[in-house]
Every structure is written in structure tokens, then in C-alpha cells.
């Protein structure tokens, strides 16, 4: 009887050991191998790739851009997504389900199709977004969106927004509307209620949403590749280039391992901080 659970997880365990753990270990090992234009990959242990990535300012620039974009996307999705989750939560039954479907549904639509939509909307200087913004008098000259960080941030915010709404919405589900009513009954204005009652309770949701959005934004591939074009690189498109165009696999593996380590560290540290800060809420 004691062996039963182990027998039950065995098939999946074997699969994951063979198809996840072994390849990941091989990738880390690959980052220490040598590579040359003519000799290909040489299975030796050297620090050449790591030194190259850590010493060349080009790679610092790419990683800087990657995390700058991820940070901006995280802030934007929190600032715009959290109020929307709150509004959704206050909606009545049929509308709430409908708009939840409308806002969360894009999550399951191919990211290539969604990014294509942004490429069409940006479409050079005469794109619909610029026309709209100029007609509304918000800008006087067209903003370049294609092949810029601005465009990447807008498109990625759209792609990842559902995760933020979802996360905040889940947190708001635990909010007792009677507390809001009590605050109002005790004479608090709507802003005070929002700031002192709703926001503190939504905060765990915003923070866990931020962790998800940040790590997905920093490792996003299709959106930066399409909006950024061939020249404006982020870490993931750089790794892709090294693997499929330059064929310098060890260097590409180094970039990928750095991305993995930085993100894993950031996520674990952030999770710890959030959990410690909100121990009462989670407990």
C-alpha cells in the first residue's frame, strides 16, 4: 500500500526526468562548451561564453532592454489591469461572465495572431493607433511603434494583461462587500474606501500578478521578435538568433541559462517577500 502513490507517479516522473531534467542539465553543460565557425561544438569545459556575455557591453544592453521592457509592462498592466478587475468584480451576473470571457479569452488566442494585430495597428507612421491618437489631440506627431521598445511594451502589455486581471480578480473574490459598505456607513468617501479598504486587500493579487507578468514579459519571444524586427533584440530573440542563425549554440545556451537563473531568482525572492508581507492574508 505504501508503494502505491510512487507507482502512480512513476510514468510521469520518468517522462519528466528524461524530457525536462536531462535536457536542462545538458543546456547548462552546453554553455561551458567551446564553439568555432569551422570546428562546431567542442565538448570541453571553458568559461569563454560566460566571459564573453558578461564582458561585452552589447549583451548588457540586451539584458538591460529585456528587463526594462518587462518592468514597464508589469507596471502598466498593474496600473490598468487592477482597476478593471475591480470594475469586473462589481458587475452583475450575465455581464460579469461575458466580459470575463472577453478579457481572459485572448489569453488562449495564439500570441502570433495577437501580435500580428498590433503590427497592423502600428503599421508605420500612418497606422490606426497614430491616427487615433492624433485625431484625439493626444499627440501632434506620429509615434514610431514598429521596431521600437515602445511598440514592444504596448503589445506585450496587451498580451500579458489577462494574467494581471485574473490574479487581481481572484484576490477580490475573497473581499467581503460588507466591509466596503461598513466603511461607507462609517462616513468614508469613495476614494478613501478604495484606498484604505479595497487596495490593501487587492494588493496580494496585484503583487502575484506582477510576478507572473514580469517573468513572462522578460522571457517573451514571438511578440518582441515580430514588433522588434531583426535588429532590436531582447534576451530571448538573441538566444534564438545564436541557435538558428549564427549556430553558436554554446553562446545561445549561456544567454538562456542567464535568463533562467535571473528570472528564477527574481520570482523566488519576490514570492518570499509577498508571502511574508501577506502571511495573514494567505494563511
Amino acid at each position: 500500500m505504501k508503494a502505491t502513490p510512487y507507482l502512480l507517479v512513476l510514468p510521469a516522473l520518468v517522462l519528466f526526468a528524461a524530457i525536462v531534467i536531462v535536457p536542462l542539465v545538458m543546456t547548462v553543460a552546453l554553455s561551458f562548451h567551446d564553439w568555432g565557425q569551422y570546428k562546431g561544438i567542442e565538448p570541453v569545459f571553458i568559461l569563454k561564453n560566460w566571459r564573453e556575455v558578461l564582458e561585452d557591453s552589447y549583451y548588457w544592453e540586451v539584458f538591460g532592454r529585456t528587463f526594462r521592457i518587462a518592468a514597464l509592462v508589469t507596471v502598466l498592466s498593474a496600473v490598468f489591469g487592477a482597476p478593471e478587475a475591480y470594475i469586473l468584480n462589481r458587475m452583475k451576473s450575465p455581464w460579469r461572465g461575458l466580459f470575463l470571457l472577453v478579457i481572459l479569452g485572448p489569453l488562449l488566442i495564439s500570441v502570433v495572431a495577437r501580435t500580428l494585430g498590433w503590427a497592423l495597428l502600428f503599421g508605420g507612421n500612418s497606422g490606426l493607433v497614430n491616427k487615433g491618437l492624433m485625431a484625439a489631440g493626444l499627440i501632434s506627431a506620429p509615434i514610431p511603434f514598429m521596431f521600437t521598445e515602445t511598440g514592444m511594451v504596448v503589445a506585450l502589455t496587451h498580451v500579458l494583461m489577462p494574467y494581471m486581471v485574473l490574479s487581481v480578480w481572484a484576490a477580490l473574490q475573497r473581499l467581503d462587500p460588507q466591509i466596503e459598505n461598513a466603511a461607507v456607513a462609517l462616513g468614508a468617501g469613495p476614494l478613501t474606501t478604495l484606498r484604505r479598504i479595497v487596495l490593501p486587500q487587492a494588493m496580494p493579487g496585484i503583487l502575484s500578478g506582477a510576478i507572473i507578468v514580469f517573468s513572462l514579459a522578460a522571457s517573451a519571444f514571438a511578440t518582441p521578435a515580430i514588433i522588434g524586427g531583426r535588429r532590436l533584440k531582447v534576451a530571448s530573440t538573441l538566444a534564438y538568433d545564436e541557435f538558428l542563425n549564427t549556430l553558436n549554440w554554446p553562446l545561445g545556451a549561456t544567454v538562456a541559462v542567464i535568463l533562467l537563473v535571473v528570472l528564477a531568482t527574481a520570482v523566488i525572492v519576490a514570492n518570499r517577500l509577498v508571502e511574508r508581507r501577506y502571511a495573514q492574508v494567505f494563511g
Binding site: 466580459f99 488566442i109 494585430g117 541557435f243 545556451a253
Partner: protein
């Protein structure tokens, strides 16, 4: 519960427009009668949908994606069922670690998984093969399959099984006639969610798909990298229509709230 004021509703409208705009625009441009990208207003045409038929690589990629998604999701559910039964109803050493391991593809950036799979499959001679794609997709959709399988396994009323046992059913009969039928709705939803994720996956697949095994999103991605024309918008419109159809079916069958937020599963 108080209602949303006019400012809230205006904000909500803008937000929904923002979320839908790129998707609507793709479908809109797909109906252009012109040979270039334009927004049709008076003349609508299906010429770019007919044009898809002249590009066999898109058609074969579609069938490729469909087959790959169906097979890898089914296998992922197959791997999930015993694992979910173990995790949901047994307390054993390493239980949390196993759960974390099976959920780990959600934590590892897909770009890193793609690179790792490419390296691994090249070493063992599976690079670009359908077998390789299936193995990789099983792993990547496993968290979705497992989450819903776990939810239905955890929600199982054990007293029904106890009743079957006390009525003289053998352990195998209980599994076959009582337990499995009870978890089937959860399995179907898990399969569907896994299928959608497999069908849409591009980041990891772009590394391991060969010229003969490229999936539809990979073909679309590689095509867009070179040029954007109405053809790729009509292909995307078909993909969007497929996904929306699946979504609505899933929402009816299981409830999207429940599906995406998840509840009752072995969280914290």
C-alpha cells in the same frame, strides 16, 4: 453591492476596446479585396481565405497542429490521471516535490525549454521529428492537464467508492466503473485546455519543428518575420475562429471562470 459609476463604465469600455482591437483588426484586414494590407469598408472579399488553399504549407501545418495537439494532450491526460490520483488521495514523502516538478514547465521560460529540447533531441536523433514534437508538447501541456485532473480527483466523493467496495466490487471494478466515470468531465476539460495550449504554442516549438513538421503558429511566425500580407491575416483569422469556438464550447461545458481561476485543486 454598489454599482459601477459612469467613469468606471467609460474606463471599462476603453479597456475592452484595447483588449479586442488587435484581434478585430486581424479579422477585419483578412476580408480585404485588395492585394495589399488595407481595411475594407465597402468591398468585402473572401479571396484571401480561398488563397490559403493555394499554400499547401499552411494547410498541412494546420493538420500537423491539430494532430499534434490532440495526441500530446491525450497523452498528457494519460500521464496526469495516475499522478493526480496519487497526489490527491495519498499523503506520501515528496508529494509537494512531485507536484512542483510536474508544474515546472509553467515556471521555466518556454525559450529555455525550446533550447533544451533542441539540444537534447539533436543528441538522440529526434530533432525535427514528429515524435520529438509530441514528447515536448506532452511536457509543456502537462501542467494544464494535471491541474484540471487534480481538481476533479480532489473533488471526488470517496464515500461512493466505499459504497461500491462494501457492495462487493473489486478494486479494479471500482476504478473502472466508479472512479474513472466520475473524473471524465475533468479529464475532458483538461484535454481541451491542454489542446488549446498545444495548438497555440510557438516559442518552444519554433526550435524543434523541422521543415516537414512545422506547426501552424510556427509557419505563421516565420512568414510574418519575412513579410506581412493579407494571406497571413486570413490564416490568423481562421486560427482565432477555431480558438474562439473552442473557448465558447469550454465555457459552456466547464465554465471559463472555473477553468482559468481553478478552484478546489491542490493549491496552497
Amino acid at each position: 453591492m454598489s454599482r459601477n459609476g459612469p467613469i468606471a463604465l467609460a474606463y471599462h469600455t476603453l479597456f475592452v476596446i484595447f483588449m479586442l482591437a488587435p484581434i478585430v483588426v486581424v479579422c477585419w484586414v483578412a476580408f480585404t479585396p485588395e492585394g495589399f494590407l488595407s481595411f475594407p469598408t465597402t468591398n468585402w472579399s473572401l479571396r484571401w481565405f480561398y488563397a490559403i488553399a493555394r499554400y499547401p504549407e499552411f494547410v498541412s501545418a494546420f493538420w500537423q497542429s491539430l494532430g499534434l495537439g490532440a495526441l500530446s494532450s491525450a497523452l498528457a491526460v494519460g500521464f496526469s490521471v495516475p499522478a493526480a490520483l496519487a497526489i490527491a488521495r495519498h499523503r506520501f514523502k515528496g508529494r509537494e516535490a512531485f507536484t512542483a516538478l510536474f508544474m515546472s514547465p509553467l515556471m521555466i521560460p518556454y525559450i529555455v525549454l525550446g533550447i533544451a529540447f533542441l539540444r537534447f533531441f539533436t543528441e538522440i536523433g529526434l530533432s525535427g521529428s514528429f515524435t520529438g514534437l509530441v514528447l515536448a508538447h506532452i511536457v509543456v501541456v502537462m501542467p494544464f492537464a494535471l491541474r484540471l485532473t487534480l481538481a476533479s480527483a480532489a473533488g471526488l466523493d470517496r464515500s461512493i467508492e466505499h459504497a461500491a467496495v462494501s457492495l462487493g466490487a473489486s478494486e479494479w471494478t471500482v476504478l473502472k466503473r466508479v472512479t474513472l466515470p466520475l473524473v471524465v468531465p475533468g479529464l475532458a476539460s483538461g484535454w481541451a485546455l491542454a489542446f488549446i495550449n498545444s495548438f497555440d504554442e510557438v516559442t518552444m516549438t519554433v526550435f524543434i519543428a523541422g521543415p516537414g513538421t512545422a506547426t501552424l503558429p510556427v509557419r505563421m511566425f516565420l512568414y510574418i518575420q519575412d513579410n506581412i500580407d493579407p494571406l497571413v491575416t486570413s490564416v490568423s483569422a481562421c486560427v482565432i475562429a477555431t480558438t474562439v469556438g473552442g473557448l465558447i464550447a469550454l465555457d459552456r461545458a466547464y465554465g471559463l471562470e472555473r477553468l482559468l481561476v481553478g478552484r478546489g485543486h491542490d493549491g496552497r
